[in-house]
């Protein structure tokens, strides 16, 4: 994966202060999105799609204020409510939403402001040249998403709203479409709002993450911070991931191991990967995969053993979550244990411990 351009300095701002009555609750979002690429995440039914629809102008009972780069799309207090056709938003719903009665090319050119050059550029960026004459029903899921994306781009939007574009695709297809998304992000100067469940996608693409739960904003901030701590600690059903970003330091072909420098003086061994030395990688370690020892473990198969200090002990559902400061790492690691283990080893705040992780338990995101 390439360097994320999402952290580049930004002159794009999306101001949100909306209330939208939905079937189960009222979606209430207040915040300013200032990244070129914002991932919107949260449990199913938390209002993510409704938020996109509100921005697109497809929710007539939304109240409040929406401004994109200073252009006011909605301002109930001033009786401003732009209809969807005047908002210039590019909306790509979850199932692509292609018009079945038009060819792929017809779909891309559909937008009212689809000038020839824009259409051509969109076709180029999304690699659709060969598909233009095909009917939507004959396209694969990934091809449809690309056509829908090109269609949205060609209409000269001021913001792109993508609703889980890769959700229905298998892993192989996902890998193929992801680069297109990155091209769009990097080459097309439009802020993107991207609904996803997939942590890897968010990490690869987003400059900031908006977490929703039951219509309320749980958090808004940098991906690495949010995805490893905030929302997830409280959400005990979801896997707790420790996310670490690092640089490939060295390969040990004979040993079948790649070493990754994750900063703070820590080097993590993972199974051999085909990434060049110096490449940035993101690693995920599940909280339940970490073994805790109160003495330095000897004769252990695990390649990764680190000294740490327990910062907090929290009951999360039926388990206990420990927050441990590891080395000089930027943020604490999460470890999930059974209460029995915690009791048996008398683990408390301040206890010095060693954390052991098999290299196979470290996943490349």
């Amino acid at each position: 994966m390439g360097v994320a351009a999402a952290d580049a300095p930004v002159d794009r701002v999306i101001e949100l202060a909306v209330d939208v009555p939905l079937a189960a609750f009222v979606l209430r979002v207040n915040g300013t999105l200032s990244s070129a690429f914002t991932a919107i995440m949260g449990p199913s039914g938390s209002g993510k799609t409704s938020l996109l629809e509100t921005l697109a102008g497809l929710r007539p009972n939304a109240r409040g204020r929406i401004a994109v780069d200073g252009a006011v799309l909605l301002d109930t207090s001033r009786r401003v409510r732009l209809p969807p056709e005047r908002r210039r938003v590019g909306y790509v719903p979850q199932d692509a939403g292609l018009f079945p009665h038009l060819t792929a090319g017809g779909n891309v050119a559909f937008g009212a402001r689809a000038r020839r050059e824009r259409v051509e550029t969109a076709i180029e960026i999304l690699g659709l040249r060969a598909l233009l004459g095909r009917s939507p029903v004959s396209l694969s899921g990934g091809e449809r998403q690309r056509v829908a994306l090109a269609r949205a781009l060609a209409s000269d939007p001021r913001v792109l709203l993508l609703d889980e574009p890769l959700a229905a695709l298998d892993v192989g297809l996902r890998e193929r479409v992801l680069p297109y998304l990155m091209r769009v992000r990097d080459e097309w100067n439009v802020p993107i709002l991207y609904v996803t469940h997939n942590v890897g996608e968010a990490l690869a693409l987003a400059g900031e993450v908006l977490l929703l739960r039951e219509g309320q904003v749980d958090a808004l901030g940098a991906p690495l911070d949010l995805l490893s701590t905030e929302g997830l600690v409280r959400d005990a059903e979801r896997g707790l991931e420790n996310l670490l970003r690092g640089r490939v330091a060295a390969h040990d072909d004979a040993g079948g191991v790649t070493r990754v420098d994750v900063g703070g003086g820590l080097t993590i061994s993972i199974p051999l990967v085909a990434r060049a030395v110096g490449n940035i990688v993101t690693l995920a370690i599940r909280a339940e995969d970490i073994v805790v020892a109160t003495e330095h473990p000897a004769a252990l198969s695990a390649r990764n053993v680190f000294e740490a200090r327990i910062e907090s002990v929290e009951r999360t559902g039926v388990d206990v979550t420990l927050r441990c400061a590891v080395g000089r790492g930027p943020r604490p690691w999460l470890v999930r244990l059974t209460p029995a283990a915690v009791r048996a080893m008398e683990l408390r705040v301040g206890t010095p411990v060693w954390l052991a992780i098999k290299s196979h338990s470290v996943h490349v995101v």
């Binding site: 969807p84 056709e85 559909f110 937008g111």
Partner: protein, 226 residues
């Protein structure tokens, strides 16, 4: 073989049916679309009213029309004051035919529009279409087969309309006599052989119209998001 006069009756019948269908198209499609999308109060009432001519005996509809158009009532008096004669003229045939064929068109159109995924309209709007643009560029192209089937059905009904027509337009040879009325008249005046000739023509026309409807219907596929 039909005589020249009888061909005249056939031509008159086809012309009236065609004109009725053409005039009904914008109204029927519009009402059908409104009924497909609108969910508020009063929708049930409108639907029932629209379907009434389908369920009532045609003669009952004819009497109601006669009352409405009568000189002694508001609309009839208004028309009479402007020298517009409707009852017992071809205009009455047109009105009766349109009223009886209307529900068929509306119901078919409504079903066709209901089959179009409304999310596609939302997407079209975000791409820059106004409501009218979205209707003509997305909804109608996806619903056209159903609308066409409804149109042919309405046309077939218009060809054969009798009960309401005879009430409000009379059975005046050369002026308001459609095929159906002519068959009745020939039978009443003892010319059953001429009536059979007209029956043969009617069967042919009806066959052609219905076969077209079937053919269009068979090619309809469910239109939703690809």
């Amino acid at each position: 073989m039909p005589t020249r006069e009888e061909w005249g009756i056939v031509l008159f019948t086809i012309r009236i049916a065609t004109l009725a269908t053409l005039l009904l198209l914008p109204i029927g499609v519009g009402v059908g679309f409104a009924l497909a999308r609108y969910r508020g109060p009063g929708k049930g009432v409108v639907e029932t009213l629209v379907s009434l001519p389908l369920v009532l005996p045609p003669t009952a509809v004819g009497i109601v029309l006669l009352q409405i158009l009568s000189r002694r009532n508001t609309l009839g008096a208004w028309l009479a004051a402007r020298g517009i004669d409707v009852v017992f003229t071809w205009k009455a045939v047109l009105v009766a035919t349109m009223v009886m064929a209307f529900p068929l068109l509306v119901r078919s159109a409504r079903t066709a529009f209901e089959e179009v995924d409304p999310r596609l309209v939302g997407i079209a709007r975000t791409l820059g279409c106004g409501p009218l643009g979205a209707f003509f560029r997305v909804t109608l192209p996806l619903a056209w087969r159903g609308v066409l089937a409804g149109t042919v059905l309405a046309f077939s009904r218009a060809l054969g309309e009798f009960g309401a027509t005879v009430m409000v337009a009379g059975n005046i040879p050369g002026k308001t006599q459609t095929l159906a009325l002519a068959i009745f008249h020939d039978t009443q005046t003892g010319h059953e052989d001429r009536a059979m000739v007209l029956v043969a023509v009617t069967v042919t026309l009806a066959f052609a119209a219905l076969w077209t409807t079937e053919w269009v219907s068979r090619r309809r596929t469910r239109r939703s998001i690809a």
